[in-house]
């Protein structure tokens, strides 16, 4: 292009004054010595109002501090300032956001002479920027919230990439597997799966990765103590808004207690069936015999057979009673008919039936004046159970002691035998449902419900129940009831 034409189109002074950016120059002591029209218009000042003023006086106080601590050193030492972000006060008190670029003019001794600066108006951009920073903070705090939640739940939680490599684990994961959250290679996790579950797990896992189908599987995982515990593993594919596979989210809920309870229940059903079957079988045999004797009712065997039939019916009846009691307890349907009665009286009535068997000596001691407000029938059931247990599990203990004590706000009843005792580790489980101290070969097998029922009765009264024992010396079963 010809120079003349160029000069016509672009007038340097015009360009300076009306450029799409603000220009100004500062003296070495920071005073405005030149400023263009664009900037004056942005700020709403006349030129004469600003010439000779300190540029810093147009900044907010924080901006002034920043200007002193950053702008001057950078301009003086680097000779150029790139994209410093400031807010400038307009004459009307409002603010515009600007990006400041500047270059320093030095004399031959490197002494600062002046600074030329360009301002770009970034007010709108700044608002976007604030929004973005705000969104970032929101997203980060949301992430923290989720992390907090993920660490709080009792389940093991993890995510993997679409291909199945673990990329996040929660605190419970690290706690359960005793790792620091870094060793989450697939091989590490697979080494924790019980070998009998591993093949099946891999099979369904690979199928899920291929098809994107949700996965659910019960597996055993090795905990930090080296014990396998049952877990319900669930995993689902997370699709983003565009439908891309991004992550697998997974959890492992500990269902060990649940699985064990089911096992116990199965065992119990098998024991209960067996227990019921024995008297019923013998009842059936008796009935067959009686059937043969039906035309001979005066046969001398008849009374014996009826007696035997009754004993077996009693046995079945007792077993069914236990089962009913236990299921009542489970459903919280135990109703107490409370009255005030004398404990020693109840105990001696109860013992009276058992004393018929002369082999055992039952000695009642302690305060025989103690009164309680309780369900007499249920408490009798507890005491009877304690005494029959003592006879059952300590058959060689010829003496059984029952002690009554006043212990402040409670009445304490102890049943003491001199039997073989119970191993310490078994004591905490004695009052569990379906629990039975092993007594293979003993003729007293039973359902193992007795103590569970006793415990429920005592708890329902607001009392406590327990046992202590020394191997070779004997056991003490006790319960307490509140006096009021």
């Amino acid at each position: 292009m010809e120079n003349d034409l160029l000069a016509q189109l672009i007038d340097a002074e015009q360009l300076y004054q009306n450029a799409p950016c603000g220009y100004f120059s500062l003296s070495a002591d920071g005073k405005i010595i030149k400023i263009n029209l664009t900037l004056l218009n942005w700020l709403g000042y006349e030129e004469k109002e600003l010439l000779g003023q300190k540029f810093a006086s147009l900044l907010t106080k924080g901006g002034q501090m920043h200007f002193e601590m950053f702008f001057w050193p950078v301009a003086s030492i680097s000779k150029a300032v790139k994209e410093f972000s400031y807010e400038i006060l307009r004459k009307d008190g409002s603010l515009i956001a600007v990006l400041l670029n500047a270059s320093a003019l030095l004399d031959e001794h490197s002494k600062l002479q002046a600074i030329n600066a360009v301002l770009t108006n970034t007010t709108e951009r700044k608002n976007y920027e604030k929004e973005i920073l705000h969104s970032k903070r929101v997203a980060e705090s949301e992430k923290k919230r989720l992390q907090f939640m993920a660490d709080l739940v009792p389940e093991i939680i993890w995510t993997t990439t679409a291909k199945g490599n673990i990329d996040y684990v929660n605190a419970r994961f690290c706690q359960y597997f005793n790792c620091n959250g870094e060793d989450t290679r697939s091989s590490f996790v697979l080494s924790k799966v019980h070998k009998d579950d591993l093949r099946e797990l891999l099979k369904v896992w690979y199928r899920s990765i291929e098809t994107g189908e949700h996965l659910q599987k019960e597996i055993r995982l090795l905990n930090r103590e080296g014990i396998y515990e049952w877990h319900l593993l669930k995993s689902a594919l997370f699709l983003d808004e565009e439908g891309n596979m991004t992550n697998w989210f997974g959890s492992c809920a500990n269902i060990n207690d649940h699985i064990n309870a089911l096992k116990k229940k199965d065992e119990f059903i098998s024991i209960a069936s067996h227990e019921l079957k024995t008297p019923i079988t013998s009842l059936k045999a008796v009935l067959q015999l009686l059937d043969r004797l039906k035309n001979d009712p005066s046969n001398k065997m008849v009374p014996g057979l009826i007696e035997k039939a009754n004993r077996n019916v009693d046995k079945v009846n007792a077993l069914v009673e236990d089962l009913l009691n236990a299921s009542q307890m489970n459903q919280g349907q135990l109703h107490l008919n409370k009255s005030i009665f004398n404990l020693a009286g109840l105990i001696s009535d109860c013992v009276h039936h058992i004393r018929i068997d002369q082999r055992y000596e039952i000695i009642i001691g302690g305060d025989d004046t103690l009164q309680v407000f309780a369900d007499e029938g249920r408490i009798e059931q507890v005491i009877a159970n304690f005494i029959t247990n003592a006879i059952k599990y300590a058959p060689d203990s010829k003496q059984i002691f029952i002690n009554l004590k006043n212990a402040g706000a409670n009445v304490l009843v102890e049943v003491v035998d001199k039997g073989p005792g119970i191993a310490e580790e078994k004591i905490p489980h004695l009052f569990d449902r379906y629990y039975q101290v092993e007594n293979k070969g003993s003729k007293y097998s039973g359902l193992g419900l007795g103590l569970f029922i006793c415990a429920e009765i005592v708890k329902r009264h607001g009392g406590e129940i327990g046992a202590r024992s020394t191997l070779g010396e004997g056991s003490v079963f006790w319960f307490s009831l509140p006096t009021s």
Binding site: D29, M69, F70, S85, E129, L133, E140
Partner: protein, 274 residues
Amino acid sequence: MMMKAEAVIKRNNVKVIGDGEQVMLFAHGFGCDQRAWKFIVDAFTEDYKVVLFDYTGSGQSDVSQYSADKYKSLDGYVQDVLDLCEALELTNTIFVGHSVSSMVGLLAAVQHPEFFSRLVFIGPSPRYLNTTDYTGGFERQDLENLFEFMDSNYLGWSSAMAPAIMANPERPELGEFLTDSFCSTDPDIARAFARVTFFSDNRDDLSKLKVKSLTLQCSEDVIAPLAVGQYFHEHTPGNEFVLLNATGHCPHISEPVETINAIKTYLHTEENGK
């Protein structure tokens, strides 16, 4: 435990220059590094051994040695100075501190007066925040406003637009971007240092100083106003006070000659007075 000289030299990017016997230790202020001294250092290298350094986390120091816990108060920075004195076996040192380094130097000299012979404070302030019986120059909101500017300058438009807003909170690319420019610091460290600097209150420490000192006060300093400099002078035993014609907060940058003369005059007078 004493640090080895090499370890301190590496951590704090220590530079020793000059032919003199007596040591002058220059400590930069908040937001800068040792390059801030470039206009005045040459005036002292003939007569003194000049030691320059960057605080841990600033300038070209070894940022990996920075720990948020250690540097959560000025004590961490004081320890940097003391480590340096011990490791380089500095005694009889003239300490020159700018801005927050004035307080760092004062606290170091209170703990170990034996390392220092004179202290020179440029724009000192024992407390920046106003309170009922004291005018530091700033309200809390002014300082929050400053921190906002610092944040917006570190995390400005370009970096806020960086794609890895969520995925990469550490933003290593930002660190690289900043290392070249003067006053470059890791933004988190800068933010922490700013809070330590501007929220500290060391008014009670002034009277404990046993080493003689000089205050260089600028005219029209928004960071350390005249009244603050006077308060500092009045409460610090053995302190001389010189009001410079230089304006702003960095007279060693804006008016190096006047600054050099003021320091030299003080040191010579003190020498002759001995």
